[in-house]
Symmetry: C2
Subunit: 425 residues, 2 copies
């Protein structure tokens, strides 16, 4: 199958592109490398030293004999995107090419507007390009479990049957997203659903949980294929960050009580879910929604698991409860359905001690690259402007691993630390 991976140079995209290529699909990566630019903006480098895409693809070809095409450009540039679709003629387009960090979208107005315009326009462009040039192509779009928020009822996969005043309908599940980023995905979901209806496009909207891990069979083949591993407060996902904090002896930064429960999955399951979606395309006019995660955890429980795993490795790991920089429920009901991908053949990699070991070992291997100050939350949802970037500039000139309290917002968060638990191994 010919599969275009938009955003194929990013965290999930790179792992997916290699996996699909290894499975024998003909893969093209479409990327403008803006994710690498944000590293510079935020002074936050991936833990793992990633190579330029051209190097990555050359090594992939020499190792496997498989060629991955690459197209350089921005999906917000319609002429580029349409030409790419016409040139590559994909059977499926996997769309990761969005700004995917909630804190990034909450830095200030510019970042909020950028995130929504970038994500919404990129997806609109893709919908128009498919309608005009490749109407039978299957769109596999990455949404997020964060679109649903934390309702006090079970979360279904995209749609819910409602009986109301004696009448029934199946309607889109009500959305309560928790950041300008999550909102952008809700906007996308509505736009995609509409174009399936009016134009008969085929779409699978994958509401993905929080991804952890970095190694897949393919990225582990060679150091040059290593995937990015973000641990900073803006792009780092929570479990990855905890493992690095444990490995370098920094306290785990739990926001508030840590009762926030979310769906999680191993990146090895991300890539398999994408393949399953591609192998089982939606029908013409169908907009399917799958919830793409394998287990639910609350943040506090994840922290405890990392503390326990650290203890086995002889590490002493603290937990710091910081005032939650986000506006979210810290204790809530959460039960999200996630059976559709399992029914199509997903065999999950559940979170295990060995996975935690391996993440901590990666952190130890690259510990000279860790800037511990990057793990402290600096984007406060309650503020319309967070001066993160300026502070980052200052910090870069100070010592590594020194907690930064220059920022007023950060200081108030520190003062609000409610609890600190030390667990000695």
């Amino acid at each position: 199958m010919k599969i275009a991976v938009l955003g194929g140079d990013g965290y999930c995209g790179w792992a997916t592109a290699l996996y699909l290529s290894n499975q024998g699909h003909s893969v093209a990566i479409v990327d403008n490398f803006v994710r690498r630019q944000w590293d510079h903006e935020l002074n936050a480098q991936t833990l793992t030293p990633i190579r330029p895409l051209s190097d990555r693809l050359r090594v992939w070809q020499s190792l496997t004999g498989k060629t991955i095409e690459s197209f350089y450009g921005d999906v917000c540039d319609y002429e580029f995107l349409a030409a790419t679709i016409c040139d590559f003629e994909p059977d499926a387009v996997v769309h990761f090419a969005e700004q995917r960090s909630a804190p990034y979208s909450m830095i200030d107005r510019n970042h909020a507007v950028f995130t929504q315009v970038n994500n919404v326009v990129g997806t609109l462009n893709l919908l128009f390009a498919l309608r005009e040039h490749r109407p039978d192509c299957h769109l596999v779009k990455l949404g997020t479990m964060g679109e649903y928020g934390t309702p006090n009822i079970d979360i279904e996969e995209g749609y819910i049957a409602i009986e109301h005043n004696g009448r029934k309908d199946v309607l889109p599940f009500p959305k309560q997203p928790g950041s300008f980023y999550h909102l952008s995905k809700v906007h996308d979901s509505h736009n995609i659903m509409f174009t399936c209806k009016i134009w008969g496009l085929r779409a699978t909207d994958l509401n993905q949980g929080v991804v952890y891990g970095t190694m897949t069979d393919e990225t582990a083949m060679d150091e040059a294929l290593i995937n990015r591993f973000d641990y900073d407060d803006v792009f780092g996902t929570v479990l990855n960050r905890f493992c690095i904090q444990a490995a370098i002896g920094q306290p785990l930064t739990v926001y508030g009580k840590g009762g926030q429960t979310r769906g999680f999955l191993d990146i090895r399951d991300t890539v398999r879910c994408i393949e399953i979606a591609c192998d089982n395309p939606a029908g013409r006019g169908e907009c399917r929604v799958y919830n793409q995660f394998t287990e639910q955890f609350c943040v506090r429980d994840l922290a405890d698991m990392v503390v326990a795993a650290g203890r086995k490795m002889g590490l002493s790991v603290d937990i710091d409860h910081l005032q939650d920089p986000r506006v979210e429920a810290e204790d809530h009901y959460y039960n999200a359905k996630h059976s559709k991908l399992i029914e199509l053949g997903l065999q999950p990699h559940y979170l295990s001690d060995s996975l935690l070991d391996s993440l901590m070992n990666i952190a130890i291997k690259y510990k000279d690259r860790v800037d511990a100050s990057l793990m402290f939350p600096q984007v406060n949802w309650r503020e319309p402007r967070n001066d993160r970037r300026l502070q980052m500039g200052k910090t870069a000139r100070t010592s590594l691993a020194a907690p930064r309290f220059e920022n007023g917002a950060a200081e108030s968060l520190v003062r609000a630390r409610t609890k600190s638990v030390r667990s000695k191994g």
Copy 2:
């Protein structure tokens, strides 16, 4: 009360600004006149000859002694908007400043992207400006009943109590909007709800039905205060268009079976609803949703009412059933709640023969300004590009009132006419 009316030079905005000024409020109009620019783009002038805003405001002041301030600029320009909020210091902001035509948003990709970016960014800017400079100000935002679509259950006012698998919650009502424009309003609704939650803003989201009529007590005071009256297929609302078609002897253009049922209201109720919302502000952190319409009609019934009203005036009125250029249900359940504004004091102007008479008389008065060709639908939801604007350029050089069949899309619509009913007076 100090009230800023964003989009105060438009159809609903102008009537609202005058009404609020007449009620003794201190009013400012914020507008960039882009609605007048779209008239030129579409070669479609309002039936009524509207004056420049500066003339309108001068006449209003000389007639009433009341001053309406005006600020020229684009709400998508944050510096302008923030400066305006700081300068005027409004207690309430009424936000009409969006692209409000569904067909306009469906012309092609450029118009779809423009509509969503313009509306979403303008509203995001306003939310940030209020948070930064006027956090206690009440946002009165115009949404649309079209956000809900046509579910097979009763439509509630913004939120619905759902019992599911034995648990309960009150959640945002599921949205199924029917155009890129309607989608933009859904995006806005989600963004507004979120900022009320994180920043404690006060908001009232008014999901307005289809507005008809043109005269209010204020606009009727002087010819120079006349409101715009759009009848073209892009910006004309259905009842206004039917009255003009009847007045000039053109068939009423009913899309499909005409079973499409929607909420409607008189523009005199629009202005009163806005005042009611302003007089009863939402609490801090509250995002209220009111459904702003007074009666439900299906399009076929409206057409029959116009035929009957025409007959009384001695006019022979035809009905043409055209293939529906939109993708929408032509027969469906529809029962939308609309009690909250009534409970707060709205006394509706229900649709009457005298209102239809007055609309047709306005049409007869200005019939030399009517271009009948503008009433034929040329934007087809099923196509990703509609060459409306080019065709408009051609048509402007041909005779008035001649149906235009040059356009391929229009031709196919004409061939698909399913029924033509002639009713002789």
